[in-house]
Symmetry: C2
Subunit: 720 residues, 2 copies
């Protein structure tokens, strides 16, 4: 994609970070001649690089540092400073930031530790700095970070030891990491793999600039295609979501590691970052919503970034496997299936062609060409050519294992595969080979993807297939809200009737029902609604009604209704003497359908999150639910349903009828819209059960619970 | 373990393979001077090795091959031959096998292809050879295999190109693979990792010796500790199960890759090996039953074998993490949790000690010691020492990342960690470091475990923890059967009443019930049993009774029973005119409890397999069932229950009562015993639902289906 086609990052209203990320002039405060000191190493990288703007070393004791004219203070610098790199201690930072402000510097990078990560005193120091900078319009990166690199601009504002063996070649992968240490680790691994880097940014304590802003800026850059992110916890929803949206519009692939997936990890992250991290499941939902690939391990993170950096995506899920060992072919078929991909069927004419090449081959997929093809480059070329040419595969995996490392054969095999690949530019080719790093590099330079273990090749292919599917997925925007007319929160909170009334406004109907206060009223209501009916106590103070005899179902006639009312109005007040009882609800019995749960909770970072799943204890145990940030469109609601392993129960399993998925998608979208429009007011919504009826029978909320935020929390979550 | 403590492999009655696996004399038929030919390469390896017995090259055209006296034919060999290595074409093999038999050779290895893997003609040739050899007592390995190695004996009967760079050092890992190609791949990777090998055996088409026999022989050898297996499909239950049992008794760890896990892979395996492979879930069950670690990828297979080869197992699940980056610490905490391990709590005195070493460290687990410890070997030693000494961790993971590769620091860090480790021989230490292969070797030689990606370290630790837990798990043998008195199979098959009667014999009770043939009998029976009752038609020909009105529940009085009987005896014969109706069953209504499914199916390889899970469509969709080869003991039945994610429904979830697990374990054991004792007769058993009642209420089979094998299949599956 050319620069002109790029959507600008200005559109979203996120402040631009150009002065920090692509400065035209740089000061190194604490510059040193000693490359083992931070201020020495930073300056060394900068002087080795192709940075074209002025670099000002600041050091009160020297007139020259590393061959550049040095200045005794920030105030005495001879020109404007876009970015000041502060390689100084925490104690000296406050004065330096003040000087930056006086000088009119536009951004500063704070490398030093000794801030919020060490406790209350450090946090207070960090807050003072951030406040000062914010007031003056000075953007801060860090503190406690490893700085940043803009390779295409030759700007190296980092002391990362990962660069000691050389600066990585400028490339199209951008790295954004909250952790400096792990960011450096990734940088080193990209270098070891020979992968080029466009940007490298670490945000550390995020006193000002956060990971979302960095990703958003990167998503607007034409000189990177792949964003590789490492996140411990997001501080602000808006910049992060804006970044994912912009990356999607600009067709950049994001590969992300978000740690703290598990309870153990989350506890560790909280104590490490001392920030609210949000529920992990919400990150999963967000990543799915925006087509981000979430990597579990460093290997996977780097593998997927590598694969995405080649710039080809598969057009479908059909994989062809060429192996020199039947056993490994079977293994790869397993990996293909694990990944949700399929083994394509080899066309008969391709089989015939393969048999002509190697008479004792096994031409069914996985294709076993025996060792012959690794002893004869021409056979390899013709084999790869025949399989790539077959209109049966979107990606082809060639396993040559240890046979590809024979010094006499590696070159010819590389060339053979390269020639075949060049003739099929719409297909993907993976080569699985065991060889020395240099020899692997030789394979890699042919343009196809190279992995040692075929399992990792298939995981990378799975990610590329996901990226392509996400590009093609309908991604309608959630419908606009109902004008956000304010809702009234009942003084004592929402009882069931009030909750259901509010839900009716967004199109989720309840059973026919009537609030009654006497046995006579109950019987009359039941006769209007039609038997059988249910009877329930109505009270905002009683959460588990059935536990105290507050629910009776399947009342078949007037006598049963009367008797049930008399008994319930007797025992419930006795068993819950503190509860304020608003009356009793006579309801239509809803028969048939599948009981589900639809709910909204408020995430401390991301605000309202809508969750859907089938009802019942088994689904709870097996954790088969799906969630999204609210609001969601009906399309996205359908995507949520398709993620459930229990979805067949709704779509019609074993001859059962299909249920009303249109109405269900509408209900999910409507409830999510309600929650998003009124995020300031509503803390939780739970419809349990929501009955989804067969055919076009719609959905019915049998019970509903809505809780408002406590008044003091109402400002926390603005509406989206 | 010393050799004398080893259980012999003779005990199990499996024929010994010494002549093949540890021959005292070897002939190479097809011996050649050209090391690029199979017969040349095999002889080359043998002459390079320390094999102490005679090696006889056989070549009709030469008097000397590779410096050894050659013989024109097998018949003319001057001495006895334990093992003949037949490096000849499929066409020549039959005559060579005949000559081996004439000569009295005890085993032969058939390398050549052109047998069952190429179709019917090859399969017939293979069957003829196998029959000839079997009759003469000549054991065959292969055909279509890569031969074998016994490194401690210096016996190299293989042409594996993986050995071209040198024979691997004799070690304690044995490799057994059905695939020659993949076996060679593993051998090469073990060599690249510097790991020693004791044996390497590939079984190819398994005309005679199968993978189970090989594993069984290896399990009896004192000179290996770790068995690394690759399996596509087992041909015979007995040798395979005997191998797992013997390995367990001799405390050898088995790491196994079984391919064809998925439908796609299984289809590929079947077409590749042309043999019945058995249901993949059965392998899972078998591996769990015998404490085998099943690896999914080659990396995992090799990682776990490497970790197990060090010979230390963790004594518990508590992990301590020392990191130089907070972010990576959080990542590792996630991996620990994923693996079912726990992050141990750092004792206060350890925290104090760590703060004394590095004042700004974060001493909670994961412990972040900052980069200080990688710049100062003494600090590293003291840190590792303090954490290993704390009685809080069974294993410690040190992440030093790219900092461990600095040439000046690698040596001192290795020595520091080595000294600390030596002082805590009961603990496990993992080091996660990014460095060159040579430098990694340097770390590895200190005795602790070295991995680059910490995710892989934790997977290896998970496997070691599993091995230790499996050693400690009670593993009672299934109770002996009831003397295997023959059971009578009703002429028309088992109807529900007959099935329930048979289950009652193994202690699984049914509801109180009576078979009736008239409305009067039905009412009388209901009055004896007590209301409410259920009424069901009894017919072996009707599988889905409720579909045709053959089931009525909750009949509360005599009138209801009479009316139900009259209606049912009217409609059922009309709707199922072909069915033979044996009468109607009046049953006690069982209330309360959890509905489950207990069943037995017959696997084509492994025979009867018992499966248990909760009832209902959700469990089916979410595939939460557990199975084992029959019979199982009650202990093993409890282990089955503990594997279910839905187990809390039985053990008491959210204030619900616990259910009768004792009775359930007895029922699973009893039914599995029935199936095993009568494997010749019974094909399937399905109790659905089996109601497990609260407290000590026992279990009740509400419905039961038993199918006998068709008469012609009855001989297939002998009782165990």
């Amino acid at each position: 994609m050319s620069a002109t086609e790029h959507f600008s990052d200005r559109a979203a209203g996120v402040p631009r970070l150009d002065a920090l990320m692509a400065p035209r002039s740089v000061a190194v405060v604490g510059a040193s001649n000693d490359p083992t000191r931070f201020g020495g190493r930073i300056l060394q990288y900068l002087t080795q690089s192709t940075f074209s703007g002025p670099v000002y070393p600041v050091n009160p004791g020297r007139s020259e540092v590393q061959g550049l004219k040095a200045f005794p203070s920030i105030d005495e610098l001879p020109g404007a400073v876009d970015c000041a790199l502060l390689a100084i201690s925490a104690e000296d930072t406050e004065a330096a930031v003040e000087a930056c402000i006086r000088k009119g510097a536009r951004s500063a990078v704070l490398f030093g530790a000794g801030f919020s990560e060490i406790g209350a005193a450090g946090a207070a120091r960090q807050a003072r700095l951030a406040e000062q900078a914010r007031a003056a319009g000075l953007r801060l990166l860090g503190p406690n970070c490893m700085g940043l690199v803009n390779a295409h601009a030759g700007f190296y504002g980092t002391f990362a030891s990962a660069l000691e063996d050389g600066l990585p070649p400028p490339g199209r992968i951008a790295v954004a990491s909250q952790s400096g240490g792990y960011g450096g680790y990734l940088l080193r691994h990209l270098f070891l793999r020979g992968l080029g880097v466009s940007h490298f940014v670490t945000t550390g304590n995020e006193s000002d600039v956060d990971i979302g802003e960095v990703l958003h800026w990167l998503a607007g850059q034409p000189d990177c295609d792949v964003l590789l992110g490492y996140v411990e916890g997001v501080r602000s929803r808006d910049s992060f979501v804006a970044a994912l949206e912009l990356a999607q519009r600009n067709r950049k692939q994001i590969v992300m590691m978000k740690v703290g997936r598990t309870a153990e990890g989350s506890a560790a992250a909280a104590s490490h970052t001392a920030s609210l991290t949000g529920e992990d499941a919400v990150y999963d939902a967000l990543f799915r919503q925006y087509g981000v690939w979430r990597a579990r391990t460093s290997d996977e993170l780097l593998d997927v970034a590598y694969a995405a950096s080649k710039g080809r995506l598969p057009q479908g899920r059909r994989v062809g496997v060429i192996s020199i060992s039947g056993g490994v072919g079977v293994q790869i078929a397993d990996f293909v299936s694990d990944a949700g991909l399929t083994m394509g069927a080899v066309p008969e004419e391709t089989k015939a062609a393969l048999r002509e090449l190697v008479p004792n081959c096994a031409p069914n997929n996985p294709i076993d060409m025996t060792g012959s093809v690794t002893n004869n480059a021409e056979l390899m070329e013709k084999t790869a050519d025949a399989v790539l040419a077959a209109e049966a595969f979107d990606a082809v995996v060639v396993f040559i294992g240890i046979a590809g490392a024979a010094p006499s054969m590696a070159g010819p095999l590389q060339a053979a595969l390269s020639r075949a690949y060049a003739r099929h530019p719409d297909k993907l080719l993976f080569v699985s080979v065991t060889a020395s790093p240099e020899m692997v590099r030789g394979y890699d330079q042919q343009g196809f993807l190279v992995f040692e273990d075929p399992a990792r090749a298939i995981t990378a292919l799975q990610a590329l297939t996901y990226f392509q599917a996400e590009r093609e997925r309908p991604r309608s925007v959630a419908a606009p809200g109902s004008g956000r007319e304010p809702i009234e929160i009942p003084a004592g909170g929402f009882n069931e009737a009030a909750a259901k009334a509010l839900l009716t406004k967004v199109g989720v109907r309840s059973p026919k029902e009537a609030l009654v206060r006497s046995a006579d009223e109950a019987v009359a209501a039941a006769e209007t609604i039609g038997f059988p009916v249910a009877l329930k106590v109505v009270s905002a103070d009683i959460l588990h009604k059935s536990d105290i005899g507050g629910v009776r179902l399947q009342l078949r006639d007037a006598a049963a209704v009367r008797s049930a009312f008399e008994h319930m109005s007797d025992v419930v007040p006795a068993r819950a003497p503190e509860a304020r009882i608003d009356g009793y609800l006579v309801s239509e019995m809803v028969v048939g359908g599948v009981e589900c749960i639809l709910g909204v909770t408020t995430d401390p970072v991301f605000g309202p999150v809508v969750t859907f799943g089938l009802g019942g204890v088994l689904v709870e145990l097996l954790k088969d639910t799906s969630c999204r940030l609210a609001p969601v469109s009906e399309d996205e609601a359908r995507a949520m349903l398709s993620e459930l392993r229990t979805a067949p129960v709704l779509t019609g399993y074993r001859g059962e009828p299909a249920h009303d998925l249109d109405a269900l998608a509408k209900a999910i979208a409507g409830v999510s819209r309600l929650a998003a429009d009124h995020a300031e007011d509503l803390a939780t919504i739970e419809i349990n059960p929501l009955v989804v009826r067969p055919g076009d029978g719609g959905v019915v909320a049998l019970d509903a619970l809505i809780e408002a935020h406590k008044p003091e929390q109402r400002d926390g979550f603005p509406a989206h």
